[in-house]
Symmetry: C2
Subunit: 208 residues, 2 copies
């Protein structure tokens, strides 16, 4: 390490701070930057700067956007009576990719994680409540809130908290949770018993 | 992909250009940058800029340096009668880490790779020849050139080329090649036959 120059050591340390990047990979990346042309290397530096400069959160749903409102909120064809609540913008993309959802979103920017110090007030829950309230007042009320936080400890806790909150503030509002079950393409033999239990409990009537 | 904003797509593309970084990792890194504080993110951008601005090659040996001469060339205790020729600065570090070498270096900045279009003139071979010539003229001649290019196709080819060149230009100069054999800690059973062959051919007399 001490053979590297100071700025190179610094770049290695910065790469190492990225998630999933260890010492060896950080050295390899720094070495690539060292050998790349100045133009090539600076493209990455500028791309980082531009993201921090241009990308912000949508004023309504907190999806990432380069404008005041994101592309979903700006789309007049999206049904504003259904709001799908997700943890992160990447969850929103996961749903958008399916092409099967035509409502709006609300991005919480995380989930409760007491051990990591993420509490309800760190999420955009107040924004969600305020938004539903405003829609009610303006005569375009939300009909359904889909809680699409991840089906894990943090996501379930967040969904539970939100459900209580929404039930108290907006009695009568339909609140749903995305289905848990056996993932399409897998089989009962190979999934965990938690998943099989979820699939049994969530069974749907086909006939009769 | 089309759900990402333009600058975010751009950052993902830039991360993806780094060696060993695929699409998924690039997305994860871009996402980290997106969520990091501006200060944190810009530290990486500045570190890249600083490396491209400050780090250059040593005037004598082409090792990376932030000054005109690198720390090895500036060190009066390093024996300038022995020059160890390596492909890359990282090979130099690999040798420095051992602490067992007290001579100087010459960094070729690569090895021949005809398929990748790297020819002898792309390396710092002329710098090496000129340096040896100047040392001879100034009465501090090099006694030994250690060819420490990698023991693979490209490195062996480069070493062979250098040996011919040095033999022609400086008759009588001692030219050595680093040893190939079985790596310490491994065993004959598990290394390839090429390695065993190398070890046999390079056998050293212990007694008699």
């Amino acid at each position: 390490m001490e053979f590297y120059t100071q700025t190179l050591q610094n770049l290695i340390a910065e790469f190492e701070r990225l998630p999933g990047i260890g010492r060896k990979t950080a050295e390899r990346l720094a070495y690539y930057i060292l050998r790349a042309s100045k133009d090539e290397a600076m493209k990455l530096a500028y791309a980082i700067r531009d993201v921090k400069k241009n990308v912000k959160n949508c004023r309504i749903c907190f999806n990432i956007s380069e404008t005041d409102l994101c592309s979903v909120c700006l789309d007049p064809l999206r049904d504003e009576s259904v709001i799908c609540v997700v943890e992160q913008p990447k969850d929103l993309y996961a749903i958008e990719r399916t092409g099967s959802y035509k409502g709006r979103y609300h991005v919480l920017m995380g989930a409760f994680a007491p051990l990591e110090g993420i509490a309800p007030e760190d999420l955009t829950i107040n924004g969600l409540l305020e938004r539903i309230r405003q829609q009610f007042q303006s005569g375009r009320p939300a009909q359904e809130i889909i809680l699409a936080t991840n089906p894990n400890f943090e996501g379930d806790g967040t969904a539970l908290f939100l459900m209580e909150k929404l039930k108290a503030d907006f009695p009568g509002l339909k609140i749903t949770r995305i289905a848990r079950g056996i993932p399409s393409g897998s089989n009962l033999e190979h999934v965990s018993k938690t998943i099989v239990t979820d699939a049994l409990e969530g069974r749907r009537l086909l006939e009769g």
